[in-house]
């Protein structure tokens, strides 16, 4: 019962984080939202009984992806221009 509740709450949080990763104009904020999404995705993997994937997502998704994104934003520019 409680496990099912967790399986309902976590995907919703993931989707919310991903929506805001798209909507935010500040690319740094978008990168932070992607990182948060990745973190919760990893928790979801962990709860879906896949600890191997959770470690990989921790190392790659939550850490290195953010790092590369931030480096790329640093090399280009921060704000997404208003359309």
């Amino acid at each position: 019962m409680i496990l099912e509740a967790i399986h309902i709450i976590l995907p919703i949080l993931i989707v919310i984080a991903s929506i805001y990763a798209v909507l935010l104009k500040d690319l740094i904020a978008a990168a932070i939202a992607v990182s948060a999404m990745s973190l919760m995705l990893s928790l979801e993997f962990y709860i879906l009984q896949a600890p191997d994937v959770a470690i990989a997502e921790a190392g790659i998704g939550a850490c290195l992806t953010t790092a590369i994104l931030i480096i790329a934003i640093k090399a280009t520019k921060r704000m997404e221009d208003e359309t």
């Binding site: 191997d52 470690i55 990989a56 190392g59 290195l64 790092a67 590369i68 480096i71 090399a75």
Partner: protein
């Protein structure tokens, strides 16, 4: 301005060996606990990325050239594919786990069911873990290092 503050540097220095040894632990216990070559490699590469962010990419590239990293990655990949080809030589086909059951290196078979961690199992899998681990460490760190260095020397090029 390419270094972070003293506190961050000190903590990075302290936790760097811990992250490295922990990543190696994950690599070496890949066949027993969650983890393996990719995960452990990612952990160690992240640790190196921490040193990069704490000390700056110019300091880091003085310690570790990307050429050497590329070489290291090649060596890891060659080890991996040679282990696969050894399967052709010793056993019958590619990716044959020729060491399992041979009582040689990592050759024993664990008792069925729930066991405690016995590192001396898995046949060729731990060796492959190490090869892939070397490869992933060098590869991921090379990506971060090259990109960081390129972004920090942008003004110099223009």
């Amino acid at each position: 301005m390419s270094e972070m503050s003293k506190i961050v540097r000190t903590i990075s220095s302290i936790s760097f060996p811990l992250i490295i040894i922990y990543g190696l632990y994950i690599i070496s216990h890949g066949h027993l606990t969650p983890g393996g070559g990719f995960q452990g490699g990612a952990v160690v590469a992240s640790g190196c990325a921490m040193i990069l962010v704490a000390y700056g990419s110019i300091w880091t590239i003085g310690k570790m050239k990307e050429k050497n990293l590329s070489l290291l990655e090649s060596i890891g990949a060659i080890c991996f594919i040679l282990l696969a080809i050894f399967g052709l030589g010793f056993g019958a086909v590619f990716f044959n786990n020729f060491l399992v059951g041979s009582d040689f290196l990592f050759g024993t078979i664990p008792s069925a069911g729930s066991t405690i961690a016995n590192i001396n199992t898995g046949g060729v899998i731990p060796l492959m873990n190490f090869a892939v681990g070397i490869k992933v460490i060098a590869g991921l760190f090379a990506i971060v290092l090259v990109m960081a260095h390129a972004s920090s020397t942008r003004e110099g090029k223009k």
